[in-house]
Symmetry: C2
Subunit: 320 residues, 2 copies
């Protein structure tokens, strides 16, 4: 991949597990600089691979030609106003990540539809849970799953749910159509969308417009007994509103993979809420090998001045 005589330097910003990434990048022939340890030649960095980057360091990269997020989401970069915005912002679009997400969400939908947690509780009590209402449970075609966001992740999730026979709708900020998916768009239609969703799956990008969108108003608009699945960002969810809606019984269950603060703090009321399932941000882990392959392709395009695939380039203003 490293076809240039003097390979562009790559800045590997701070995040958990970055050593594994740095090793893989170096194995791929990339000159990796890890901050804050190895920042003597920032002026030569042309391509910055980042997750939760340091704005000041990026500002000092005077030769910077692009910022590459290490995942599909870019909110950890967008949330820092000081990050230089004169260069393209790129993300990883990995079909495997979309499949991982679709698989995890499908698990969540079935887990609530088929009362799997209730059977686990019965099992711990050595109780044959035949009393648990399952045989009256609605079949796939009757279960209305509302997906928020139809990007690479949301689109893959919607398609998987359609394949399995669910009734799928979607809410997007801007008008989008997708085969066999009932479309709602615009801020004004959020409640109408919610009112027809037995399960809501959030896969929106986190932007100023979508922050806190899973709030008490939306929960009230949902049919009683619905389920919330959040696999986007913790910032989408107003956690206190969720706990209140669960405690009132209006929302039956929540499956959460992302949190406002990660790791989830030890004193969060979510941990032992009987209607909440918690995952440590694992619904769609970045596949290091395919992600690095794509990052290197992106870098070569940038440095050679070739066009990048449309879905890889993030609009700095809309945030997706």
């Amino acid at each position: 991949m490293c076809h240039r005589d003097a390979p562009a330097l790559t800045l590997c910003a701070a995040f958990a597990g970055r050593e594994d990434w740095a090793k893989s990048l170096r194995d791929a022939g990339i000159r990796v600089r890890m901050h804050p340890e190895e920042l003597d030649d920032l002026g030569k960095v042309e391509f910055a691979i980042c997750w939760q980057p340091d704005a000041v360091l990026l500002q000092r990269c005077s030769a910077l030609k692009a910022i590459q997020s290490m995942g599909a989401g870019v909110d950890s970069i967008l949330s820092i106003p000081e990050i230089p915005r004169h260069v393209p912002l790129l993300r990883v679009i990995d079909p495997l990540m979309a499949e991982r997400m679709a698989t995890w969400v499908l698990w969540g939908v079935i887990n609530s539809q088929r009362r799997c947690d209730a059977y686990a509780v019965a099992q711990r009590q050595r109780r044959w849970g035949k009393d648990i209402e399952n045989y009256r449970n609605i079949d796939n075609a009757e279960l209305r799953v509302g997906v928020m966001g139809l990007g690479v992740m949301g689109g893959a999730v919607a398609d998987a749910l359609v394949k399995m026979g669910y009734s799928v709708s979607a809410w997007t900020r801007r008008r989008r159509q997708r085969e066999r998916v009932l479309s709602f768009d615009g801020v004004g239609s959020v409640k109408k969308f919610a009112s027809q969703a037995d399960v809501v799956v959030c896969l929106l990008p986190l932007t100023h417009q979508t922050k806190g969108i899973l709030n008490g108003d939306l929960f009230t608009a949902l049919p009683r007994g619905s389920t919330i699945i959040n696999a986007a960002r913790g910032g989408h969810l107003v956690e206190d509103d969720l706990v209140a809606a669960l405690d009132s019984g209006h929302i039956a269950s929540a499956i959460l993979d992302v949190f406002e603060k990660e790791p989830l703090s030890e004193d969060s009321p979510l941990w032992n809420h009987p209607s909440v399932r918690i995952f440590p941000h694992v619904s769609s882990m970045t596949n290091m090998k395919t992600a690095i392959d794509q990052m290197l392709r992106n870098r070569d395009c940038i440095l050679d001045g070739r066009a990048l695939p449309e879905e890889v380039v993030v609009d700095w203003d809309s945030g997706y």
Copy 2:
């Protein structure tokens, strides 16, 4: 549906929940006789709807023209040697039941693939389970799911798994082919089939040939760390062999919906085994409305001498 002047009597045999069924059958215009209470005119019964029937009573139905199972399985009828075999044995083929089964099995496959139970344990300990190996977990195309049986249920399960991108194989007693499914057939190939399956899903009919097929020999042939999903009949599984294979660590987990004795006895070691998930025979409940519609169509065919759909008629000898 009841187009004859003197509707054929229907015998509703003993099983839990039969009152609901009797009511629905009566609502559909059927003259229902429940044993042992209402058996004064057994000689007039032409069509017997049964689950765990009484052989002596059926023998007394001298005008009997068919025996209709209340579900897709017929082993509760086949297991009684005294049941009269001179009439056709019919079962319920409900596309909704196949979809329910496929959905439940898909949940089980993902539940083991994505370590969902391990995250639940971490949650109960208020522990951010980032240490649980998930990101190294194999993707759908790499997970080899082996389906035992390619009947209505097994076929629907195999198709759903293929749709979701899994690598699917199947073992059947007699040769069967299915698109995008690697086929193994015959008793001699069970171990070869097992040796290439990370997850085994049993959906075989219970017959003399398949009883106890999920035994220590099969478990030993599986790759280490595999998962057993049994949604067929308890008689397929040698429970003691499973517990031994789980305790040795050779098998990583089991998801069981059926048991040798149901309800599962309170002192079974399966209840609190950390690697076992127990469901009370709910993977694919019969849908009463669609099942009764089909039973009535079957009855009309039998009484009018018209041919029945091939998959509805069970071969008394092979048991499926």
